[in-house]
Symmetry: C2
Subunit: 570 residues, 2 copies
């Protein structure tokens, strides 16, 4: 019945709704296996989603999905069944809520912990405008650890609004959820006395508590939604449900971490930077007992599992608390340790103030290992790692390294061990190339990857993708330009740059144009009479698609680059 | 006895310690009245500080002062009495903890909420290195609302360390503390049953609770520190004290908000942008009922008190929760309201991810009113507002306006009312000048402030300070260059720039060089054959001092600017 365009969940019998859940589950498995995407988290909330469509009135009622990776069933039930096979593909359905897709999506998400704040804001707008309708936030227990949630709970009484918060507790963020807050919530299901206390706590925020409910039992969760809805007449409500990540698909239930994000069939063969990172970290930790690793709920995706297994006492997964992780690193460095903070580029944005205020202002030797730098592809706008070279560059005392291949990542990590300042090492997901090292790693040094001929044109490329493109275009065009690996975006190699006699310079970087490597090079050659071309991404948010296609469409215009390369030649 | 270089608080009798408190209080009042600084918060923690010196062993024990504005008594007791008269002055003592000043300062602070994370990190370093010593975080109830605190509490069990958290509860952040968390804490003192529940909550984070104790009673607070110290043998402890902001100085006790930050004698006569902002907001709200104002515990300092009084139902102080405030604004804008988020430049760094992810990616019409932009002076490194033009510029969909005077701020706010995109309006504290408006506000338009003569040199100046400097230098040098008010840093006025026939361009902005206006102008004129000079701040953290002196020392080198201006002239 899922394929019916005018499917009205409210009109279905209990049995039909059960069958609908099965259909949805099948459709999700079928599609994600082909398109890639978040599998187990979506399978976990099928009954909740069907229950919400039965009890609530979308799109008049509004739901904010925290992170938003669990919205597939919601999309299937809100008129997007027919486009569902385009999930996560260029111009297809997003794997996250997107206002531009449907009126059913009221707030775009992607990063964790903002759903309750967003619900409060929407509810306040509703009230001030004299409108009606429920506002609901659905949030996992992993996100619930994020500091923003507490800021939001704190704000409920200030803004004096009524919202429904559904806490979807599956004992997992991407890695298993850790930390005191989770323990506190987890107790609810087990211990009656503690449960009462926790309820009292929640109630002091002006929020009534309903739970714990089996979120994979359609009848039970539907009843609980009705009960919560009644209470919502009076004040905000927290409905606490337990679900099983990967519910209904045996492989997922048994392997929730491996199936949190699933690659499309046939991919996944490349070697990844994360495994180079993980192996090297292990070697560094063996060599130097000051080495500690910190991550915010990303141990496996970042390649740190072997480190966590080998050095559990020096490995800290602080759950989705990017700011706390940054301050911990600052303080551990100040205390004489050598912290490595591994994180995805897009999530490091959360710790921007701590980068400035805690780490760089104190000039502390924290090393950031920034994965998923550059365009990351199918997750779209909220997950592209294209701002980091810019926002890191503006911070005094920060050094930024961009390896050209896996070997150079390892060399840079080795170099970091004795580097006494803040250091960011930034790399994309996949490592494909190996260029060989021409020059030892030293802060602020570039290296020639071709002979230095001071040809008509010198190309400065930062990172593997840019270096690869430079070599490819050199071969394709037959123009024998010099290629320099601009492996430190900050500081730049002024000695090498000053010695370039080529009249024309071209830069390529996997980052937005504003504030990146190009700006630094332009600044260096200001008034020097060179002709300069900078290739980086336009000042636009970059949607989902395949990496190479997006790169070309959003700034690495190959026609244009070729024209620049060939310009000097008739 | 305070003046004694080798004063040992541990050797003092109870009576002597009482007298010491009086001396400290007198010294603080005396000094702050002359140098400016935080008065009432420092007077509140005198007994706590003396008690800590009596019970603990500094500097072997380490204390992190959250925000750090309450560390004056600590400085007086840790060998800085003789330099105390240099407080907040150039090359003098900082008003905040600074590691470079003393081994007694173990972690620099300035922004709110990081103290518990920092304590945990230092404690972990201590444990891994097999060292000993207590680690203590002192935090006000205002900061305790910040999300970072909950991330930190959540991390105590993950990092498995013992720290002492002293919650200094004075019912005030800069404005009175608001919100559910504060209510929750406040209950402790009044309601025995609730107190038990709250204790149970804290204990679930693995933290023992001691309180509530009168923090202005030296005997009581000293006993409580001893008790907490005993419990600390077993696990982390939260010691909850109540203090009175401004304790011991009648004027402060009665006026804690006005005396949170005190200007030095004789200053304060200038008209401030905040009052222009406050007045204009009031007018906008009268005209358009969609207008709402959001602040993070800064109502008075930002000039919003009249708005809060006139429109309490449309004014939200969400306490020190900068991220929550940003998401609320995004959602309220999405819900059809017109939110204005007023904040200091340096604190907006905390909401950087939300700027990108919640506001600009969704292209929502939130207006940021960014006060204390540029060098802010006496508060030093942690409070300079010199990164904002850069970090805002890199975000797609963001428009950045920089008024040249108070009138233009009012005009820009008026303009914002119908502007359908994210907009940042950024200004320094004091407004001194009035230049007159030559051209109506329209996004991305500059204006000539002198006749357009296409002289040998055109100066592009962003913001009042830069524009004032341009006029001053024009008069001093007698060189008749053109002056353009570069009032939108993004987008820049490409039409106007393209029409400039001057062969030489000079930019001035009250921001770091990296990623600011200068970079945009350089980019625009790339390969155009113009000679360009950019004046902005160097890539260094800027310490305390007077604004004009710091500007010249950190980038606005007047000699150099004059030389550029006069270069064309023999």
């Amino acid at each position: 019945m899922l394929e019916k365009n005018d499917l009205n969940v409210k009109a279905l019998s209990a049995e039909e709704r059960e069958r609908l859940c099965e259909e949805i589950r099948r459709k999700i498995i079928e599609t994600v296996t082909v398109c890639g995407g978040h599998l187990s988290s979506n399978l976990g909330v099928v009954e909740l989603t069907v229950g919400m469509f039965f009890v609530f009135d979308f799109p008049r009622d509004k739901v904010i999905w925290d992170v938003g990776h669990q919205c597939y069933a919601y999309k299937l039930l809100s008129g997007r069944y027919e486009k569902f096979h385009t999930l996560r593909q260029k111009d297809g359905l997003s794997g996250f809520p997107k206002r531009r897709e449907s009126v059913y999506d009221c707030y775009d998400t992607g990063h964790a912990g903002n759903s309750v704040s967003a619900a409060i804001g929407l509810a306040k707008a509703r009230d001030l405008k004299g409108e009606s309708g429920r506002v609901i936030a659905v949030i996992g227990d992993g996100s619930f650890n994020n500091g923003l949630i507490y800021e939001a709970l704190n704000g409920i009484s200030v803004l004096d609004v009524r919202v429904l918060i559904i806490l979807n507790d599956n004992d997992m963020s991407i890695s298993p959820t850790v930390g005191g807050t989770h323990e506190l919530l987890g107790q609810n299901a087990r211990d009656e006395e503690l449960k009462k206390k926790n309820i009292a706590l929640i109630e002091q925020y002006g929020v009534q508590y309903v739970g714990v409910v089996n979120g994979n039992d359609l009848g039970e969760v539907t009843d609980a939604l009705r009960r919560a809805d009644e209470l919502l007449q009076k004040s905000s409500v927290l409905l606490h449900i337990k679900t099983k990540k990967g519910m209904g698909y045996d492989f997922c239930e048994e392997n929730p971490m491996q199936t949190h994000g699933v690659a499309p069939n046939g991919s996944g063969a490349e070697k990844e930077y994360s495994s180079v990172f993980g192996d090297t970290m292990l070697a560094l930790a063996r060599k130097d007992e000051r080495v500690v690793a910190v991550t915010a709920a990303m141990t496996d995706a970042l390649g740190l599992r072997p480190f966590f297994n080998a050095f559990p006492e020096r490995a800290f997964d602080v759950s989705i608390c990017e700011e706390n992780a940054a301050v911990l690193c600052a303080a551990m460095a100040q205390g004489g340790l050598k912290p490595y903070y591994a994180i995805y580029s897009t999530f490091l944005q959360r710790a921007f103030d701590e980068l400035i205020h805690d780490i760089c202002a104190q000039d502390l030797p924290v090393t950031f290992c920034i994965d998923r730098g550059g365009i990351s592809g199918a997750d779209g706008e909220t997950h592209q790692g294209v701002f980091d070279l810019s926002y890191l560059s503006i911070i005094p005392n920060m050094t930024i390294a961009v390896p050209k291949d896996g070997k150079e990542l390892a060399d840079m990590l080795e170099f970091s061990l004795t580097y006494p300042h803040p250091l960011a090492i930034r790399y994309p997901r996949s490592a494909k190339a190996a260029f060989g090292c021409k020059r030892a790693i030293e802060a602020g040094t570039f290296e020639y990857l071709t002979d230095k001929t001071d040809a008509d044109l010198t190309v400065l490329a930062a990172g593997e993708r840019a270096v690869s493109l430079a070599f490819r275009l050199r071969e394709e065009t037959g123009v024998p330009f010099d290629i320099v690996n601009a492996r430190f975006v900050k500081p730049i190699d002024e000695a090498l740059l000053g010695a370039i006699r080529s009249p024309r310079i071209l830069t390529i970087e996997d980052n937005v144009r504003m504030g990146g490597l190009g700006d630094q090079i332009d600044r260096f050659y200001l008034n020097a009479g060179k002709e300069i071309y900078n290739f980086a991404y336009y000042d636009r948010f970059i949607p989902q698609g395949d990496v190479a296609g997006l790169q070309e469409e959003y700034g690495w215009d190959l026609e244009e680059i070729r024209a620049c390369i060939q310009k000097g030649r008739k």
